[in-house]
């Protein structure tokens, strides 16, 4: 649909030469694209407007740094502006109160309150060593209480015994007492989903608040939300005074402009994000990452962190040395495949890379999936140690044996060998082509990759690293700001130091 903002800005500025400062017309042209990108990301129009106005002031007349192109300069300004709007830095939950700290969850139907309550319980118990009690005040949705009870069991948290005769306010009172008497550190109150225009339900929420005097009132909102995010956030904030936002389903592919809309509307930070269906898939909100995501700049920070987690540093160093010396055998190939799996598979990895949204879809369409990666692993594991080092040994009869051993066909083996060769060739070319170009060539489906657009589905460590270099080269000016890769280039970037706040 819409190209990545970065590409668009590049084309806006491509007609311009290098200049010392950004002129008004440069900025206006660029901001038109920014506006579109933000709307496309579901940032609410009023927020977009005020944002664009403030950015315009900063951008006009800004000096373009020597080594930087105007489009990069604009992206930097926009990125910084987004970060500022998103609250600058991560904001933790307020838990340092006389126990029990009370957390009230509120939001529309289906926004993910109950699931988030369960996740939060686990999070607080594991990461903060708190003793948590959950209480469901949701009497509307069938089985909402059963759902919370099941989640409490999973999280090994306490749960308020149910009752059919009590109102939400009475339940709240009983929950407060129980949490207090039983020595819980945190009490999480899960409320029924409600529409912000439902007066009776909003009044109920106010009543609950009055009884519970919560330390945190978290508005749980779906990151898939469109323009309505502003209205909802505003209504809840006016009714009960929100203290933080939890954005759910951020593991989807929505750009999540709702985060910006709501943060701006309520003046409250996004505190937590839900990133998966499992109970541990709750993370602290990272404004920098979110800014990148809204701009479709790729979640490069997440990529580096994930890569750093997945890959043993030693292993990365070993790989780096081998690549530098031009040696790259099936063992290396195998270890790349495994790293890839650790990094959440192909889909997850590509989703984090900037501008590759389209490619990701192409790949999905071509049926390159993680099962395929598994097959390739099986093929390599069916090779002898010698064959893995000396790939040249693989004659027809050996290939036949490997195919039989791995439960694949000789064609599959051939394909893998070809991919290995392509990759080995690319190793040598490394540094001669720009990373993204090389990556795109690899993924592009043309280029003699035998119709398989992914060449077998292997964004290698080296490809990733090339991308990192690319990002760094064209990277955001201003030092620490956007560039998540620190000093390192080259492969060690993968195993290198994760960006820490």
């Amino acid at each position: 649909m819409f190209d990545n903002l970065k590409d668009k800005l590049q084309s806006v500025f491509s007609t311009l030469g290098k200049r010392g400062a950004l002129s008004e017309s440069d900025v206006d042209n660029a901001l038109r694209e920014v506006r579109l990108a933000l709307l496309e990301a579901d940032v609410a129009l009023p927020v977009v407007k005020s944002f664009i106005a403030s950015i315009r002031d900063k951008a006009v007349g800004a000096t373009v740094l020597k080594s930087v192109r105007p489009d990069q300069q604009v992206i930097k300004i926009v990125h910084d502006g987004l970060m500022e709007m998103l609250g600058g830095e991560a904001s933790p939950l307020k838990l340092d109160v006389t126990p029990p700290a009370v957390i009230l969850m509120a939001g529309l139907q289906g926004s993910g309150k109950t699931t988030t309550a369960g996740k939060l319980a686990l999070h607080l118990q594991q990461k903060h060593k708190k003793k948590v009690m959950l209480a469901s005040l949701d009497l509307s949705r069938p089985a909402a209480r059963e759902q919370l009870r099941a989640l409490a069991d999973q999280a090994e948290a306490g749960i308020l015994p149910e009752s059919d005769t009590e109102t939400p306010v009475q339940l709240t009172k009983r929950a407060m007492q129980a949490a207090h008497l039983q020595g819980f550190d945190v009490l999480i109150l899960d409320t029924a989903g409600r529409l912000s225009i439902d007066e009776a339900m909003m009044a109920e929420l106010r009543d609950i608040k009055a009884v519970a005097t919560p330390d945190e009132i978290l508005l749980v909102a779906d990151s898939l939300t469109g323009q309505d995010a502003v209205t909802t956030a505003d209504a809840f904030n006016n009714a009960v005074g929100v203290s933080g936002i939890v954005l759910t389903r951020l593991d989807g592919d929505a750009r999540g402009g709702a985060a910006l809309s709501m943060a701006q509307t309520t003046g409250c930070p996004v505190k937590l994000v839900g990133v998966g269906e499992k109970l541990d898939a709750l993370e602290a909100f990272d404004p920098e990452r979110m800014a990148g995501r809204i701009l479709d700049m790729g979640d490069v920070v997440a990529l580096v962190e994930k890569a750093a987690e997945a890959i043993e540093e030693e292993e990365a160093m070993r790989m780096a040395e081998r690549m530098a010396s031009g040696k790259f055998d099936m063992n290396d190939f195998l270890s790349q495949i495994r790293q890839l799996q650790k990094m959440g598979g192909l889909g997850g990895l590509l989703g984090m890379l900037p501008g590759l949204g389209k490619l990701q879809k192409q790949i999905a369409a071509a049926g390159v999936d993680d099962a395929m990666v598994k097959r390739q692993e099986a093929i390599i594991l069916s090779m002898t140690k010698k064959e893995r080092v000396q790939v040249g040994l693989l004659n027809a009869s050996r290939r036949k044996r490997i195919a039989a051993g791995s439960g694949t066909s000789v064609q599959d083996v051939n394909k893998l060998v070809k991919q290995y060769q392509d990759m080995a060739r690319m190793m040598k070319k490394m540094g001669t082509k720009s990373g993204a170009a090389a990556m795109k060539a690899m993924l592009g489906g043309g280029g003699g990759m035998g119709g398989n657009p992914m060449g077998g589905g292997m964004p290698s460590a080296e490809q990733v690293s090339q991308l990192q270099q690319q990002m760094q080269k064209s990277g955001m000016p201003g030092g620490g700001g956007f560039n998540p890769f620190g000093k390192g280039g080259g492969l060690p970037g993968l195993g290198g130091p994760p960006r820490k706040k």
Binding site: T115, A235, E277
Partner: protein
């Protein structure tokens, strides 16, 4: 009273937005003229209603190109806008219909798919109530074996609507359950089987594969099933709905849409964008929590409600 009132009430807030923006254009334009600034305001109002940038500007272009006759009052403008929206929505206005059942192979299977929290389970329950009221014999299958208490939630609807619910173990195989549900529904001589599936984000390949498997298994039993493969979309959803539609279209071969939660402040304008992009029938809209709040979709009324006109 019917659903018109409900939808109008439901869409009131959103139409308020569009219409207040339209009322902002309080000045009258000269004979047959309308200026660029006001068109831009309309475009913005449409964007605010989640129509998306491209459809909004397309509609704005249409207004601009129109041969305006006489004085252009805000009401005239609004009516013109509603007309344009109706034109886009009319092709997708198709109520859910059944083939007449004859023989056991004609068990009508309705599969509900969508992302998490869009309202699949609730819609399943409401659909059951609707069909029961039509005198059909309905069975539901709780194929959401993932979410905690999803089975209980559907069973709750089963009890409410007096509908049998076929369920299995939590964490069990959804496809196997679907298979068994068809057997049981047939044995019960049911007319309709509604299969509720787990919510899944469309970019999760493994979950989409699980859905594909459910459908393969259903087809093994009844080749032409699911006769209705419905995506349930949250009315508050933004531009990501397009990505959702594409992915589910590919995996589940969608036959229609149900838009939920239109009783809130959500505009549901995304329906217009989706109609334009996919042309898939919009069967029903959810405008409230009770069973009768699942209503047939009507293009003209939706369009009028969206721009703040009383659909008579």
């Amino acid at each position: 009273m019917s659903w018109l009132k409900k939808l109008t009430a439901g869409l009131k807030k959103s139409s308020d937005k569009v219409s207040s923006s339209l009322s902002g254009i309080s000045r009258l334009f000269g004979k047959g003229r309308i200026d660029a600034a006001s068109i831009e305001e309309i475009e913005e109002a449409l964007i605010l209603a989640d129509l998306g940038v491209s459809v909004a500007s397309e509609i704005a272009e249409g207004l601009r190109a129109r041969n305006w006759q006489g004085e252009v009052t805000p009401d005239v403008l609004r009516e013109a806008l509603a007309e344009q929206l109706t034109d886009i929505l009319l092709p997708v206005e198709k109520p859910l219909t059944f083939k007449q059942a004859e023989g056991e192979n004609d068990l009508h299977v309705i599969l509900l798919v969508g992302v998490n929290g869009s309202g699949k389970t609730t819609t399943a329950g409401k659909l059951a109530a609707r069909f029961q009221a039509q005198g059909r014999h309905v069975v539901m299958a709780a194929a959401d074996t993932f979410r905690a208490a999803a089975i209980e939630q559907l069973s709750g609807w089963g009890a409410r609507t007096d509908t049998k619910v076929i369920s299995g173990e939590r964490g069990g195989d959804a496809a196997a359950l679907a298979f068994r549900a068809i057997d049981e529904a047939r044995a019960d001589k049911a007319d309709v089987l509604i299969i509720d599936t787990a919510g899944r984000l469309q970019n999760r390949a493994e979950l989409m594969e699980e859905l594909a498997k459910i459908i393969r298994v259903i087809k093994k039993q009844i080749p032409e099933a699911p006769q209705d493969s419905l995506i349930v979309l949250d009315g508050t959803v933004g531009q990501n709905a397009i990505a959702q539609m594409k992915a589910f279209q590919q995996t589940a071969d969608l036959t229609g849409m149900v838009i939920t939660k239109l009783d809130g402040t959500a505009k549901g304008g995304i329906v217009v964008a989706l109609a334009r992009e996919f042309g898939l029938p919009v069967h029903m809209v959810g405008v409230g929590e009770s069973a009768e709040d699942l209503q047939d979709f009507t293009a003209r009324d939706f369009a009028h409600a969206l721009v703040g006109l009383n659909p008579e």
